[in-house]
């Protein structure tokens, strides 16, 4: 996935001279996850460059640059280190179009490696999506596969609105074919969720790092006779009600899976939307499988925190209390 992101950045830099890539250690080092590897050498340090170590400064100056016609793509080194930039993001980046009655749009992309599963120490594994999705004016997207990483990042850079681009860091090393290339990125569309696997009994709603986990769960569930559909949200904000609800109406059962803590989390929004729109189609309450409501744990305990295939399977089992319906559906 890191390679797909690198290619997307390179192609975007190539396609539009207004695109700039900057942040901490993104130049000679190529970023701590090597997503910007080789870009400074290829495009020069006027377009790909290291900044002083200051997240509010990175986002604040990106806002000024975008006001002046450029398309900054900035990197926050890790999820929890984006918090110093929170004020610039919520008070200005998200609101500039609205404040100025549409006259000043800010095509800024903020890339944030997020989530756990890499044995990182504290402050390196937060899932901060709910902070951003709660802020009107921001688009929040997260790829689940290498191919989608390329496509979503190209779309994010082309987008006239600010985009928080969450990169599931445990999937940086995931292999996969990148079929999209060139400037036009055919695909489901920037705002759209995608059915990654079709199934009839249960819908698993996942995004980012949990897409792979959900697909694995679906395989395991198939062995137990459950036909599981997997929806990859891709765009957390805006939310694609249409694709998600169409799936839930087909299956009548849904589980939302994410790494972040559940309380007040993004999954609560998904459950609420699905319940409001699909209530009469539901055979069981919509369940969540999430991280615990604790600070992200130390590396040796993170396996307990992160939603596992087993935990998702358990949730699916809990949805089957009207087994007759499921049984007849499967028959």
């Amino acid at each position: 996935m890191a390679g797909a992101l690198n290619k997307a950045l390179a192609d975007a830099l190539e396609a539009d001279p207004g695109v700039l890539v900057f942040g901490e250690d993104v130049g000679a080092l190529g970023g701590v996850f090597r997503v910007t590897d080789g870009l400074a050498a290829r495009f020069g340090d006027a377009r790909v460059f290291d900044t002083p170590l200051a997240e509010s400064g990175i986002v604040g100056t990106a806002i000024g640059m975008a006001m002046n016609g450029l398309r900054p793509v900035v990197e926050m080194q890790f999820d929890a280190f984006a918090y110093p930039a929170f004020e610039q993001i919520t008070s200005h980046l998200a609101k500039m179009r609205n404040r100025t009655r549409g006259r000043v749009g800010l095509p800024v992309v903020i890339r944030v490696p997020y989530g756990g599963g890499i044995g990182g120490v504290e402050h390196h594994c937060d899932s901060s999506e709910a902070y951003y999705t709660h802020t009107p004016g921001l688009r929040v997207v997260t790829p689940g596969t290498p191919d989608d990483a390329y496509r979503l990042l190209r779309d994010a850079i082309d987008c006239p609105d600010p985009v928080i681009f969450l990169e599931p860091k445990r999937r940086y090393w995931a292999k996969g074919e990148v079929t999209s290339s060139g400037s036009a990125s055919p695909g489901p569309g920037f705002d759209r969720a995608l059915v990654r696997r079709a199934g009839r009994d249960v819908t698993l709603i996942a995004y980012g790092p949990m897409v792979a986990t959900a697909l694995e769960t679906a395989e395991a569930a198939a062995e137990e006779g459950w036909d599981v559909e997997v929806v990859d949200l891709r765009s957390l904000a805006p939310f694609d009600d249409e694709t998600v609800c169409a799936s839930v109406r087909r299956t009548g059962r849904a589980v939302v899976v994410h790494e972040a803590s559940g309380f007040g989390g993004y999954g609560a929004e998904v459950v609420a939307r699905v319940t409001e729109r699909c209530f009469h189609h539901l055979h069981a309450p919509v369940l969540r499988v999430t991280g615990f409501d604790t600070p992200y744990p130390p590396p040796k305990l993170e396996e307990h925190h992160l939603p596992s295939v087993d935990r998702v399977l358990d949730a699916i089992a809990r949805l089957q209390w009207d087994d007759e319906v499921v049984g007849s559906a499967r028959a």
Partner: protein, 357 residues
């Protein structure tokens, strides 16, 4: 006075604020600053008188309930006008909530300037039309926008400088320090104008800052710094003009005073005494330039009356536009959140439409 080159900008500000006019309006002979041309001085005076009248009018409109709140810049006209008139056409201004006089001096209409405070919308003018960023309320955040904007101009090969205004209190915010550091490293053409008016709401300088001056803060960032008398419009104009011409970052601290309370909602008597206010009233920036221009024969009674009449007309226009009731269109709530309105906002817009039908 024939000197044309700007003095070398240094990291260390002078111990005493630079000035061109003494408090009584007599010229300072050995100032390192070049006195602005006569026509510039005459224009500075005119705009200060208009600006002050506008400010008084806005304060009055607040009392009549036409504005939700108004932060007056009375007493700070030399900074507001001197700095803005030092900008070239292509330069940008990044103001704060207090800088309404700077806005009208830059050509933004009274209604455009006051729309934010009137409550009709968050901004009343097109930033690109006037090269003025939205007035900034979160403190110091605009400093970074100015640095980014100026850096982008450099990248695009444009000769554009950005002037960002901030208060003494705002210099304590992290963003000010990040902005000065970025500007220093990038050599961005940004002028930071700190209007040190003595207080951040109620908090005095003694509780805000331990450095010898706020201008001293430039040293650590490699940003040349100037300390200037902020009630001397000739001096403020000269330092901003020279800073813009330098093509790099400059930090200017202008020593001035806020004559009114922080806003109409504030009770300034709780934290400062009337003797202090009286002392500053005696250093009035408008009186000072008037005394100088009069002594030079550049301002006579007829001209003074003409300027006063113009200011009166500007105030009357301001009253007229502000006395019209505004009824913002609720549909607009949903229009400018994203470039294209997403489904959930279209639904909410429809629901509100129905509710109002």
């Amino acid at each position: 006075m024939a000197r044309t080159r700007a003095p070398e900008l240094t990291l260390l500000p002078s111990e005493e604020p630079l000035s061109l006019l003494r408090e009584d309006g007599s010229p300072v002979e050995d100032s390192p600053l070049a006195m602005p041309d006569d026509d510039v001085l005459v224009e500075l005076h005119r705009r200060m008188v208009i600006g002050r009248r506008f400010d008084t009018q806005a304060t009055a409109l607040t009392r009549q309930g036409r504005l939700a709140v108004y932060p007056s810049s009375r007493g700070q006209e030399a900074c507001e006008v001197g700095a803005v008139l030092a900008l070239r056409e292509q330069d940008w201004l990044f103001p704060t909530y207090r800088d309404s006089v700077a806005l009208v001096t830059r050509g933004v209409s009274p209604l455009g300037t006051l729309t934010l405070l009137q409550g009709g919308w968050h901004l009343g003018y097109d930033p690109y039309e006037h090269r003025v960023g939205p007035q900034c309320t979160p403190l110091a955040t605009n400093t970074l926008h100015a640095v980014g904007f100026a850096h982008a101009a450099r990248v695009k090969g444009e000769d554009t400088a950005a002037l960002v205004m901030l208060g003494d209190g705002a210099t304590s915010e992290g963003d000010t320090h990040e902005a000065l550091n970025f500007a220093g490293v990038w050599r961005a053409p940004v002028v930071f104008l700190v209007q040190n008016n003595g207080y951040a709401i109620s908090v005095p300088m003694s509780k805000q800052n331990a450095a010898p001056s706020l201008a001293h803060k430039g040293i650590g960032y490699g940003v040349p710094s100037v300390l200037v008398d902020g009630n001397d419009v000739a001096a403020v104009h000269a330092v901003v003009r020279d800073a813009v011409a330098s093509g790099g970052p400059v930090l200017i601290e202008a020593l001035t005073y806020r004559i009114e309370a922080h806003t109409n909602a504030d009770d300034a008597s709780r934290y400062r005494d009337s003797a202090e206010v009286a002392a500053w009233l005696a250093r009035d920036p408008v009186d000072r330039i008037e005394a100088y221009l009069t002594s030079r024969g550049l301002l006579d009674t007829a001209r003074r009356e003409a300027v006063a009449a113009e200011a009166e007309e500007f105030a009357a226009h301001t009253r007229a536009v502000m006395n019209a009731d505004v009824e913002p269109d609720p549909a607009e709530l949903f229009e400018h959140v994203y470039a294209t309105t997403p489904a959930h906002l279209r639904e909410q817009a429809a629901a509100l439409r129905e509710e109002l039908a």
